[in-house]
C-alpha cells in the first residue's frame, strides 16, 4: 500500500481532500450567517415533528473538535473525519480481501 500511496494520482486525490477540508470553515461560516435549514427540518416543522428529534451522543458533536472553537474546530473535524473515513474504508476492504 505504501507504494500505491506514493503514486501521483493518489497524492493528487489526497491533496484535493485536504483542500476541501480547508474550505469547510468558510462554508460553515457562510451557512451560519444566513440561518439555514434542510428540507427534512422544514418537513418536521410543518408536521409538528421537530420537537421529537433527539440529539445523538457523539465524540465530536456538531463537527467541531473539543477545545478548538470556530473555524479551527471545523477544519479539524473535516480533517479527522476524512482520515477516519479513509481508515474505515481501508479496514473494510482488508477484511474483504
Amino acid at each position: 500500500m505504501s507504494a500505491t500511496v506514493r503514486k501521483p494520482w493518489v497524492q493528487r486525490a489526497l491533496a484535493v481532500v485536504v483542500v476541501l477540508a480547508l474550505l469547510a470553515p468558510v462554508f460553515a461560516w457562510g451557512a451560519s450567517a444566513v440561518g439555514y435549514s434542510e428540507p427534512l427540518e422544514n418537513a418536521a416543522e410543518a408536521t409538528g415533528a421537530a420537537d421529537d428529534a433527539e440529539q445523538t451522543p457523539s465524540l465530536l458533536s456538531g463537527y467541531a473538535l473539543p477545545g478548538l472553537g470556530g473555524g479551527l474546530g471545523t477544519l479539524g473535524a473535516a480533517l479527522v473525519g476524512s482520515a477516519l473515513t479513509l481508515a474505515v474504508v481501508l479496514g473494510l476492504v482488508r477484511l474483504l480481501d
Partner: protein, 217 residues
C-alpha cells in the same frame, strides 16, 4: 437529509436496518476478492473526499442549505458495490463520530444515502450515458438525490412523529431536493467530466468490464 433519532417509528427503523444490511452484504460479496491495492486506495480517497465535500454547506438565500451528498458520484466512479461500501463508511462515521444522524436511524440514513442514492445514480448514469456521458452524470446526481429524498419523505410520512402526513413530507422532501439537487448534478457532472479528461481508467462505473479488472497506474 440525515435523519435524527426520534423521527421514525420502530418498524420503519427495523425495516431500514434490514434493507441496508442486506445491500451491504450483497455489495461486500460482489466486491470480495476483486480489490487490488490501487482500487482499495481509490475507494478510500473517494470516500474521504465525499466526507469532506459533505461538510461544505452552501448558504442559499431564503434560509435553505444544501451540501453535496455524493452517492451517485460514488456509484458512477466506483460502481454500485464499491459505491455502497464507500458511502456506508461516510454515513457511518458521520453518525458514530459526529452525531450527524441518529444511531437507531443509521439504517434509514444508510438506506437513503449509501444504497438508494448510489444505486439510482449508477442506474441513471448507465441508462443515459449512451446519449451523452456528462449529461448522464448530471441526471444521475440530480435524480438520485431527489429519489433518495423522496424515500426519506415516505419514511417520515409513515411515522407517527410526522402525524402520518405523507403528502407534506413527500412534497417538502422531493420538491426541496429536486431544486437543491441541481447543484448535486452540476458537481457530479463537472467532476466526472474532469476525471474523464484526466484519468478515465479510474472511473470503474463507466464500463462493466472495468469493475472486474485492476485500476491502471
Amino acid at each position: 437529509m440525515h435523519i435524527p433519532d426520534g423521527f421514525l417509528d420502530v418498524w420503519i427503523l427495523a425495516g431500514c436496518w434490514l434493507l441496508s444490511a442486506l445491500a451491504f452484504a450483497v455489495a461486500s460479496r460482489r466486491a470480495a476478492g476483486r480489490l487490488g491495492e490501487e482500487r482499495t486506495a481509490l475507494v478510500g480517497v473517494v470516500a474521504a473526499g465525499i466526507f469532506a465535500a459533505q461538510m461544505l454547506n452552501w448558504p442559499i438565500p431564503g434560509g435553505t442549505s444544501a451540501h453535496f451528498v455524493g452517492g451517485a458520484f460514488a456509484g458512477i466512479l466506483l460502481g454500485p458495490s464499491l459505491g455502497v461500501m464507500a458511502m456506508t463508511a461516510v454515513v457511518g462515521v458521520q453518525a458514530l463520530v459526529f452525531g450527524d444522524g441518529g444511531l437507531l436511524a443509521l439504517g434509514a440514513n444508510l438506506l437513503a444515502m449509501a444504497v438508494v442514492d448510489v444505486l439510482v445514480g449508477y442506474a441513471l448514469f448507465r441508462v443515459i450515458r449512451g446519449l451523452h456521458e456528462t449529461a448522464g452524470a448530471f441526471v444521475a446526481g440530480w435524480g438520485a438525490i431527489t429519489v433518495s429524498a423522496a424515500v426519506v419523505g415516505v419514511l417520515a410520512g409513515l411515522s407517527s412523529a410526522f402525524a402520518f402526513d405523507l403528502a407534506t413530507t413527500l412534497t417538502v422532501m422531493t420538491v426541496g431536493h429536486a431544486v437543491l439537487g441541481l447543484i448535486e448534478g452540476a458537481i457530479t457532472a463537472t467532476v466526472y467530466a474532469a476525471l474523464v479528461d484526466a484519468r478515465p481508467d479510474l472511473i470503474l462505473g463507466r464500463d462493466t468490464a472495468a469493475a472486474l479488472g485492476e485500476v491502471q497506474a
